[in-house]
């Protein structure tokens, strides 16, 4: 077997000069310090994306889009197709863990100031991927065409419609008409299985390329150390093997969640039934949902909902632009303002999420 692999390697080496890539990998090191554990969450996010692609393709074999078929086809997958319940449950759980992993990755990068020069574009591409991942979640949520997803889509798209000038055409564009109907379902389906996967994969490729070219960021407090004083671990095989071990652990967690807490389907959407009591969006939208409950109808001269959206828009933009307003970190200094802003955002998200969850 090993002889066969050696022959194959030689065959490929003659054509593609694989030794250059191996040489590059051999020279790549990962810094070792007390915060190294956070490096692994990017890899976990990547793994969960791979899980989503595989389970998503499997679901596509049976899923049917359309008001009259979507709910029934998921019901069919869960009740008739062998292991259909498992595939669907894994897809739903992995979607949530995927966003959780991206968020942990993002917050660790933020608090480590790993976005500082020269990694501004790596941060921006990561933020773009978080945005796409949330759009993935939002569009995928509607596909079973159940009660909660129907109203979540009504609220979510209506929020887009509140934006001045572009809101109304955007709402029509998103819904494929004035109301959430089968046309919305078709659009969301196309977005979920074609447009978003392509967009995400492209940005992911760029993001990984940046990481490979620039290497891992070291914390600010290690910046003054000489190259020889920084403890390092070879990327291959040491870091890669640790990464793979963690992927295996995540896969086990995923399997436990999917088997013991199978994702429910709920009731089929009916546009002529009121929104059910206790309706909530997915946990990653919960803090925004809960905030919107507290904002009164009017604040000064503007509608409360528009005020809320502007507030989240400005907050999100500030967050995304942190590599450009936090100049101190790039100069090797710790910027306290960044820490306070980050802690405030984390506390706000956690508090509102818990209140929303308990409400």
């Amino acid at each position: 077997m090993s002889k066969f692999i050696a022959i194959m390697y030689q065959w490929l080496e003659e054509r593609f000069h694989l030794s250059k890539a191996v040489e590059f990998m051999n020279k790549k090191y990962v810094p070792v310090h007390r915060h190294s554990v956070w490096y692994y969450f990017g890899g976990v996010s990547l793994f969960l994306f791979i899980v989503q692609v595989i389970t998503g393709i499997l679901l596509l074999m049976y899923y049917k889009s359309g008001e009259d078929q979507a709910f029934e086809s998921i019901h069919f997958i869960m009740s008739k197709v062998q292991f259909g319940w498992l595939i669907r449950s894994i897809h739903s759980w992995a979607a949530n863990l995927f966003i959780l992993a991206i968020m942990i990755h993002m917050f660790s990068v933020y608090f480590e100031r790993a976005y500082r020069k020269p990694r501004e574009l790596t941060w921006l591409s990561g933020m773009l991927m978080l945005f796409i991942a949330m759009t993935f979640g939002f569009s995928g949520y509607l596909l079973p065409w159940n009660e909660v997803s129907y109203f979540a889509t009504k609220v979510g798209t209506d929020i887009a419609g509140v934006i001045p000038v572009i809101g109304e055409p955007m709402l029509i564009f998103l819904r494929g008409g004035e109301d959430v109907t089968g046309a919305t379902l078709s659009r969301f389906f196309g977005l979920h299985v074609a447009i978003l996967p392509v967009a995400f994969s492209l940005i992911l490729g760029i993001h990984l390329l940046f990481v490979q070219v620039q290497g891992m960021s070291t914390p600010i407090h290690m910046q003054h150390l000489k190259e020889s004083e920084i403890k390092k671990m070879p990327f291959f095989p040491n870091f890669v093997l640790r990464d793979l071990l963690l992927w295996l652990i995540v896969l086990n967690i995923l399997a436990i969640l999917a088997v013991f807490f199978p994702w429910e389907l709920g009731n089929k959407a009916d546009p002529f039934l009121p929104a059910p009591a206790g309706i909530k969006p997915e946990w990653y939208f919960l803090f925004m949902f809960q905030t919107l409950k507290y904002i009164p109808g009017h604040i000064l001269f503007i509608d409360g909902e528009l005020f809320g959206i502007l507030m989240f828009g400005v907050g999100g933009l500030l967050w995304m632009m942190v590599p450009f307003w936090d100049r101190e970190s790039s100069q090797g200094k710790i910027n306290k303002k960044v820490s306070y802003f980050g802690l405030f955002i984390v506390a706000f998200i956690i508090t509102l999420t818990i209140i929303g969850w308990l409400a």
Binding site: G176, A183, P271, F272, P274, A275, P276, I279, G297, G304
Partner: protein, 150 residues
């Protein structure tokens, strides 16, 4: 007539080619993008304009209850209060488009999405809704309940 090798003529030629290329590429992009954007705009479809619907017989609606009825493709909330009077409102919450319901324990119209509340005149009285619900007229014809758009 200036010679072709004249630097000014060369520059003019280069400028002409540059503008020609930029213009061509822009026009090409516009020709590709415009049909795509137009395609994504959902076409206007003829809708049956509904002015009045029969909601059902009076006896179908118990006192102190609310029922969602189909008014064309829009949901309308028909409330019969404790005294037996009928009132009808658009069932679409003015906050973020959820469908409201009558809660007899509150004696109010309630939206489950963001806890918005309206009184039995459709007025927004609590929570985030910015405007009252649209009011529909109710008429009784024999033992039938009819709902009209005001």
């Amino acid at each position: 007539m200036p010679a072709v090798s004249d630097p000014n003529v060369q520059k003019d030629k280069r400028d002409f080619l540059r503008y020609f290329l930029i213009g061509g590429v822009t026009a090409w992009f516009a020709a590709v993008i415009y049909p795509i954007i137009s395609y994504l705009k959902p076409p206007q479809q003829a809708e049956v304009i509904v002015k009045s619907v029969k909601a059902g017989k009076i006896a179908d609606f118990a006192n102190d209850t609310g029922t969602i009825i189909k008014f064309g493709n829009k949901p309308v909330l028909l409330v019969r209060n404790a005294k037996g009077e009928f009132k009808a409102f658009s069932a679409t919450c003015t906050h973020l488009d959820c469908t409201v319901q009558y809660r007899n324990d509150f004696g109010l119209i309630w939206c489950a999405c963001h806890n918005g509340k309206y009184d039995l005149n459709g007025k927004n009285v609590s929570g985030p809704p910015p405007r009252p619900l649209e009011v529909y007229e109710v008429a009784i014809q024999g033992d039938e309940v009819l709902v009209h758009k005001s």
